[in-house]
């Protein structure tokens, strides 16, 4: 291999060509290669979960149950939720982009625990195998929330394998979060003080804290479900002396913060992209940084807003409602600071920026409708309707996935050394934005009109809005397939990217694309604040 004559670019050694073969990937300890292993795994899970979504939308094209029955429909929305949340969204940005970028952005040679990092991917894969086993041997129908006592007593589907899968994947994310926290504390380049860190790092730090504090709770809770189901020990089932609302407390103690595991890394990406393509220093750096931690903290105090109509004490519900409103403050801090960064910026609309601008709009809609749901009276009207479905898809798809796609495009040149086709990418971003809104905006209306979620049939007067939603889903599907195709195409035929195609600040852009195995030839020295873009804050107000 070393004597082979290759073309000029390939002669430069980097993490992709340093060695070849399946073994060099499966035994790698390089955070960049592990990121790509994760990219492959989660992309597969994303398309599997997407197929379930498309079948759901097809079924809802007409009021009658045409293509699946009630039981199959229950399994479809359960497996869509389980796969998208546990196997795609939670690991998506941290395990792929975070894994790749955290060491690069802080000037480190790798994460603090490279072997634990590789182990996390193996544990994820094992969990994913359990999930797939459940899916392909009959599926599971409890909803992704596994509510007891249905999940522990009544369901005759593959509950335990699914739970084991989610449990294992939880441990893989604990490993990732632990690695990030230690790396960010101990391995920053000289001169890189806390308030010089990129906001992407702050976001991942806050995310890691949530992962470490929250994930053990869901693991134990799901374990208790399995224990009650298998050994009939009464924990949640009232017939056995348990408390079903206790399950909801324990479940949502993790699963509300889990929303921030999905959205905070996405917000970190948006901060990087917005400031780069405005060519302007980010507005309110320290407020954005600290608001990530505020979201992480407050996010643990609001879980009961999922339980307003489930028999929870009214007094507890009041407290949860107030605290839920409070989360809007740090979220709004971010949105206002991004828009203030845009103000008098020198804006250009490269594909990552199109996704980022889409994120701001969609996240705002998702966040504000969250306030509707945090209001006790209004929630009684719209709970368990399509209003809720639309709300959390605006956060998780319009927010988290838009941010993920912004990040994948933004750092694609760094990851692969190739540029993606810009025009095609902008068109795809617009298709995603239009398809998304056509899919989910009608669901707000449907929910407001009273269409409940999780039914496979519905009254005929809801059909027009459902047809719009299904049409949007097919457009959205095209919007997701396009990047998959042209990004793969660019691996071979894309133009070579230099070290810094966006003229962006940040240490990751100061090393070649793709980076060498240990990231930097010499450890960088940081002497200035982040985001030293030419334009400063506008002086005239």
């Amino acid at each position: 291999m070393d004597t082979q004559v290759t073309n000029e670019h390939d002669r430069q050694e980097h993490y992709l060509n340093v060695d070849y073969g399946i073994r060099s990937w499966l035994l790698t300890r390089d955070h960049k290669r592990i990121a790509l292993l994760y990219l492959g795994s989660i992309t597969f899970m994303f398309f599997l979960g997407g197929i379930f979504a498309l079948v759901i939308r097809l079924e809802l094209l007409t009021p009658a149950g045409d293509i699946v029955g009630a039981d199959t429909y229950n399994k479809l929305f359960t497996m869509h939720g389980v796969i998208m949340i546990f196997f795609f969204l939670i690991p998506s940005i941290p395990a792929v982009l975070g894994n790749f970028l955290v060491p690069l952005m802080i000037g480190a040679r790798d994460l603090a625990f490279p072997r634990i990092n590789l182990a996390s991917w193996y544990i994820y894969s094992l969990g994913a195998l359990f999930g797939l086993w459940a899916v392909f041997t009959g599926g599971v129908d409890t909803g992704w929330t596994f509510y007891a006592p249905y999940s522990t007593t009544a369901s005759y589907t593959k509950v335990v394998p699914t739970i084991v899968g989610a449990f294992l994947v939880g441990f893989s994310s604990i490993f990732t979060g632990l690695n990030f926290i230690v790396t960010i504390h101990r391995m920053r380049a000289p001169g890189l003080t806390w308030f010089r860190l990129p906001l992407f790092i702050w976001a991942h730090y806050a995310t890691s804290v949530i992962i470490i504090l929250g994930t053990p709770v869901i693991a134990i809770t799901l374990g208790l479900v399995a224990v009650e189901r298998v050994f009939r020990i009464g924990i949640f089932d009232p017939a056995l002396g348990g408390d079903p609302i206790l399950f909801q407390h324990l479940f949502w103690f993790y699963s509300h913060p889990a929303v921030y595991i999905m959205i905070l890394p996405s917000m970190g990406i948006i901060s990087e992209v917005i400031t780069c393509f405005s060519r302007k220093r980010i507005f309110g750096y320290s407020f954005i940084a600290v608001s990530s931690l505020a979201i992480a903290l407050l996010g643990f105090l609001v879980w009961g807003h999922h339980m307003f109509v489930s028999g929870q004490s009214v007094y507890a519900a009041l407290i949860f409602s107030v605290l839920s409103f409070a989360v809007a403050i740090p979220s709004a801090v971010k949105v206002f600071n991004w828009t203030a960064t845009l103000y008098k910026g020198s804006i250009s609309f490269e594909a990552p920026m199109v996704y980022a601008l889409g994120f701001i709009g969609l996240f705002t809609i998702g966040g504000l409708t969250g306030l509707f749901l945090a209001a006790l009276g209004l929630d009684v009207h719209v709970h368990d309707t399509y209003f809720v479905v639309a709300h959390f898809h605006y956060i998780m798809v319009g927010g988290a996935i838009m941010g993920y796609l912004a990040g994948i495009h933004f750092w694609w040149p760094k990851i692969t050394g190739r540029l993606y086709p810009e025009t095609l990418a902008r068109i795809a971003a617009l298709i995603v934005f239009l398809g998304f809104n056509l899919t989910f905006f009608p669901q707000f209306v449907l929910g407001y009109l009273g269409m409940p979620r999780r039914y496979y049939v519905y009254p005929p007067e809801f059909q027009v809005l459902n047809v719009m939603s299904t049409a949007g889903a097919t457009i959205l599907g095209v919007g997701y397939l396009l990047p998959m195709l042209y990004l793969t195409w660019s691996l071979r035929w894309g133009a070579r990217a230099g070290a810094n195609p966006w003229r962006a600040t940040g240490l990751e852009w100061q090393t070649p694309s793709p980076p060498p195995t240990y990231n930097f030839a010499t450890t960088p020295l940081v002497t200035e604040e982040p985001y030293a873009y030419p334009l400063r804050e506008a002086r005239e107000y």
Binding site: L246, Q312, S313, V314, I319
Partner: protein, 99 residues
């Protein structure tokens, strides 16, 4: 990595203490304490957990940052229990509609 060397004697002492406390748990369970039974059992269990965390997990000899990390975990566990209990305690205050 922690450079602190813990003498074997400490491990043996802690292990013995854990065994004594286990025996105590079993003994206390045979007595009649009424409403105090659960608090007593929990107090012994928490003491045992503290011994494991402080000595077997070396937290007593670790850096302040490690200690803060552990304390944060315990704090959030308390938050979870406290708010959940806030629901369970106050659930009956308004009575059950229709009864």
């Amino acid at each position: 990595m922690s450079q602190h060397i813990v003498p074997v004697r400490v491990y043996v002492t802690i292990f013995a203490a854990l065994m004594v406390l286990t025996a105590l748990t079993v003994y206390v369970a045979t007595l009649e304490h009424g409403a105090l039974s659960t608090p007593i059992a929990l107090a012994i269990a928490i003491t045992k957990a503290m011994l494991v965390i402080l000595y077997f997990m070396h937290v007593r000899y670790s850096s302040g940052l490690t200690q803060i990390s552990i304390a944060t975990g315990v704090l959030f566990l308390l938050v979870m229990i406290a708010i959940t209990m806030a629901d369970i305690v106050s659930r009956g205050w308004l009575g059950t509609p229709g009864s």
